[in-house]
């Protein structure tokens, strides 16, 4: 097991959102304030770790013909737990994420990791994989949130910082482009972030090639 390598994969080369392009629905829909992004990222990370551990522990028991159905039921169980916990202890977050919490069940990141990693590897390695992929997912969400919130309402840290959680006003709200926190902004920001990410990856790769020459 190589923690560093798994973390690097989760954050960069195999980042669930930016490189594997999984879990797009929630990434586009809820990234309108920092609070949403961090909350969603934490929820998905917790569910990812739990489901990875359980699926990895049961990987020799689950018959391969019905494995997808079994995975979905396991994931749905954890999602329900997190949903109820959020409603009880963080009602603000539960309200602003709304139906996208139960929809974590069909988030391809979780099913994807179950199929690609947890069903083939040991419990501990799967837990680490869940953590690393979760961190990668959260980082991608936060990047999207920061860009969209800044351009869309001119603030930083909405829901967390500032008075009444309104965020710190970086520039007057009058100058903000409201479209950026609407669906259009989601698609556009995501397009530019993925393009920037691909450009960065290629640059690093080219440097490595030059270094080895």
């Amino acid at each position: 097991m190589d923690f560093k390598k798994q973390l690097k994969e989760g954050l960069l080369t195999k980042n669930p959102v930016l490189a594997q392009l999984l879990g797009m629905c929630s990434t586009l829909a809820i990234t309108t304030s920092l609070f949403n992004g961090l909350g969603m990222g934490a929820a998905v990370t917790i569910i990812l770790i739990c489901s990875n551990v359980l699926i990895s522990a049961l990987r020799k028991v689950i018959p391969s013909q019905i494995r997808i159905a079994a995975y979905i039921v396991i994931i749905a169980g954890f999602v329900t737990m997190v949903d109820l916990l959020l409603q009880a202890f963080l009602p603000d977050l539960a309200e602003s994420l709304g139906v996208f919490i139960p929809l974590i069940v069909v988030n391809c990141v979780i099913l994807g990791r179950a199929e690609a990693f947890a069903s083939k590897n040991g419990v501990l390695a799967s837990a680490v994989d869940g953590l690393c992929q979760g961190i990668g997912y959260t980082v991608a969400l936060v990047v999207m949130c920061v860009i969209r919130e800044l351009l869309g309402s001119g603030t930083f840290g909405g829901g967390l910082l500032g008075e009444n959680g309104a965020g710190i006003q970086i520039f007057p709200a009058d100058f903000a482009a409201l479209q950026m926190i609407m669906p259009v902004g989601g698609f556009l920001t995501m397009g530019f972030v993925v393009a920037g990410f691909q450009w960065l990856l290629r640059k690093v790769e080219n440097k490595k090639k030059e270094g080895s020459k």
Binding site: A29, I68, P183, F187
Partner: protein, 197 residues
């Protein structure tokens, strides 16, 4: 069932297709929207299959929810709904394979994918949240599916052209696709003021 009820039904229909389009406004079902929109034919096939499953799932989940409410087990909604949806998709797949092999062949790969389409689970959850009755749920499901079809077919025809154009290296492939989707979403924002009833 008065005139007001029919108007409410039409309102649900129009808003699910245009103003509250499941993909471009609500962001349900982005994965198949990006994955299966390279060609108009396959996009249309996927849209039809999703519409059918969404309508059926809305009906079935409405009934399941009644049972859950009677048992005071509403917290099991997510688990129960996803199981119902998975079995519906399985049944539809087997039924098509036996009785309409031509359609089955055309849809083939996309059918099992529908289980993990957030639009299907999304519509079931929205129906419960909004407290829709049976007919309203089914209409909302079918209209949501039609909205999905409209968006994915429009997008596929856009993409067939965009894929052939020359764009900066870093934007090749997925990023430019997302940006074109953004422009389509911008066009759909034009519907947001639409109010007929």
């Amino acid at each position: 069932m008065g005139e007001g009820y029919i108007q409410a039904l039409l309102g649900i229909l129009l808003s699910a297709v245009l103003t509250e389009n499941y993909i471009l406004v609500k962001f349900y079902g982005i994965c198949p929207f990006m994955g299966v929109s390279k060609k108009i034919d396959t996009a249309l096939g996927m849209g039809m299959a999703v519409t059918f499953v969404m309508a059926l799932a809305s009906a079935a989940c409405w009934a399941v929810n009644l049972a859950l409410v009677a048992l005071q087990a509403e917290y099991m909604q997510t688990v129960a709904f996803i199981l119902v949806i998975a079995s519906i998709v399985q049944v539809v797949e087997m039924f098509l394979k036996k009785s309409v092999p031509a359609l089955y062949k055309a849809l083939g790969v996309f059918l099992p994918l529908i289980t993990t389409n957030c639009a299907v689970l999304g519509v079931a959850l929205v129906n419960v949240q909004e407290g829709y009755d049976f007919l309203q749920s089914v209409i909302n499901g079918a209209a949501g599916g039609l909205g999905f079809t409209l968006a994915i077919v429009l997008f596929a025809s856009m993409r067939e052209r965009v894929d052939k154009t020359d764009c900066p290296q870093a934007f090749k492939g997925f990023p430019i696709t997302l940006i074109s989707a953004g422009l389509l979403a911008l066009a759909f924002m034009g519907f947001s003021g639409l109010k007929i009833f």
